[in-house]
């Protein structure tokens, strides 16, 4: 392929690689620190760590394995057949044929918000869900843009990537708790068993808390980059970045009108949604940005405009893929 308007976004790729590298680094540092603390103190707190890893890993993999069922149940969604929703299936059929990917199952959730999500442990078991207000509120091209964005999440295996990325935070979070409880309930045995146990467990707790905070921020950063990547792939798939941009604006506006009671139930699922279920426009927005699973609307629109210019090039000229 000598010329292409579909050149990958190198900046985004670099930033994403760097984020993942940092997450890996934090992971390695975490293990090294824990081992170091234990070795230095000649204490075996291994049981606590082992339990945390087994619990954390187990729950992460269970969540991954049942992600489709969990998400559908949480959203109150129902799977629909092509006969029940011919239009929706038609759009998904065409997008999958364009992208040459397996068609996910399709579901509709009643939900009060305009939103969509895709989940599932792999492409064979993935499910794409849209809410009824989204189907009613968007026009055909906008809906296509949203579905293309969600299909890109499936193609990028985002549920898997984010589960693995989140593993560290889960284990670190559990360690803090376990260390705390073991201090609370195991306090009586401290003197008879091991003089060093108290400071060691305190150190493990502190390290875990710091690691949890760092990896939490990195995971959110990674999530925002993956949203941008899905926007990009989705817009290139349909060739209509403006339609996706317009859908984003509509969905975000819909978000801000929703009373907060409705939002709380959806926050846990936020990472897999098309738009964040939290209002980013409050006074603490700059801090919220750092914790958000999704980039700001402005940032996403800006990136889509870039793609629009890229697709409109008359002669993209020779460029290597």
């Amino acid at each position: 392929m000598a010329r292409t308007r579909y050149a990958p976004d190198r900046g985004l790729t670099t930033r994403m690689t760097l984020t993942m590298f940092l997450l890996g680094l934090v992971f390695v540092a975490f293990i090294a620190l824990i081992i170091g603390i234990m070795a230095a103190a000649h204490v075996s707190a291994a049981a606590i760590i082992l339990i945390a890893v087994i619990f954390g890993g187990g729950s992460a993999f269970a969540t991954l394995f049942y992600s489709d069922k969990i998400a559908l149940a949480a959203a109150g969604a129902r799977e629909v057949t092509p006969r029940e929703a011919p239009e929706l299936h038609g759009v998904v059929d065409r997008l999958c044929a364009l992208a040459d990917m397996d068609k996910p199952r399709v579901a509709i959730a009643p939900g009060p918000m305009m939103n969509a999500f895709a989940t599932g442990r792999n492409s064979k078991n993935s499910v794409l869900c849209v809410t009824t207000p989204l189907l009613e509120g968007l026009n055909q091209a906008e809906l296509e843009g949203v579905l293309a964005h969600e299909l890109s999440h499936v193609a990028h295996k985002d549920v898997q990537v984010m589960t693995y990325a989140g593993l560290l935070a889960i284990v670190a979070g559990l360690l803090v708790r376990f260390a705390f409880y073991s201090e609370l309930f195991g306090g009586g045995r401290r003197n008879s068993n091991d003089q060093n146990a108290f400071p060691v467990i305190l150190a493990i707790m502190a390290v875990s808390a710091v690691i949890y905070a760092i990896s939490f921020l990195l995971i959110r950063l990674l999530s925002r980059y993956r949203e941008l990547a899905a926007d990009r792939s989705g817009a290139l798939l349909t060739g209509q970045p403006s339609a996706l941009a317009s859908a984003l604006v509509k969905v975000s506006q819909g978000m801000n009108r929703i009373p907060t009671e409705d939002l709380r139930t959806a926050q846990g699922l936020s990472a897999f949604y098309f738009a964040p279920a939290l209002n980013l426009r409050d006074p603490r927005a700059s801090l919220a940005k750092l914790f958000s699973t999704h980039p700001t609307l402005e940032r996403r629109l800006e990136e889509l405009e870039k793609i629009q210019r890229q697709l409109g090039q008359v002669d993209p000229g020779p460029r290597a893929l």
Partner: protein, 189 residues
């Protein structure tokens, strides 16, 4: 898509496979002998138009190119999904000319760097009982499948499987039945 590509979230747009389309004329002869279906002479290319003037310019270029050969003018239509269909019509015995026309559309889009936008090509067939059949070529997979619509958005699955039995060896057929996408109201069918 490779492991690294999905890890880094960079989907590569899929380039179309064009060559297998040329197997169609000989398969049409086999199909007629086996089932009595003959080409209607109409065929269409379906693609997702890219927004903006550049793509629009290329689209009208394709249209002019096809209209130059002095045959019936090319019809352009947009379906309810926002996809564009270019319909080329020939006499029913000119299926080779039809395939050449369809290929001209493909190659113009590919040459201009818009290959990933191609969805499928549909070539129409009819039998003496006036049943409709479309042979659909999926560009991204380079495979064919039959689509036999009946009234009221139902498909004649028996006929579709019969067609696969008749010409499944002549053409590269789509093995995965879930990819046999329904194309209701496809122009040229």
């Amino acid at each position: 898509m490779g492991f690294l590509d999905s890890l880094l979230g960079r989907t590569k747009p899929v380039q179309p496979k064009l060559d297998d389309l040329f197997g169609l004329p000989s398969a049409a002869i086999t199909l007629q002998a086996a089932t009595g279906f003959t080409p209607t002479g109409s065929g269409s290319v379906c693609f997702r138009a890219v927004e903006g003037g550049t793509f629009g310019g290329i689209q009208s270029e394709v249209r002019d190119l096809l209209d130059m050969d002095g045959g019936l003018p090319v019809e352009v239509s947009r379906d309810s999904y926002g996809f564009t269909w270019l319909v080329s019509s020939h006499m029913s015995d000119e299926i080779e000319a039809l395939v050449t026309d369809l290929h001209a559309v493909n190659s113009t889009l590919v040459d201009n760097g818009f290959g990933p936008q191609l969805l499928c090509t549909v070539v129409g067939f009819r039998d003496p009982e006036d049943r409709r059949l479309g042979l659909v070529y999926l560009y991204k997979r380079g495979t064919f499948y039959p689509f036999a619509p009946r009234s009221g958005q139902t498909r004649d699955n028996a006929l579709e499987l019969q067609v696969r039995g008749a010409i499944g060896d002549d053409l590269k057929f789509e093995q995965d039945l879930t990819k046999w996408m329904a194309l209701w109201g496809a122009p040229g069918l």
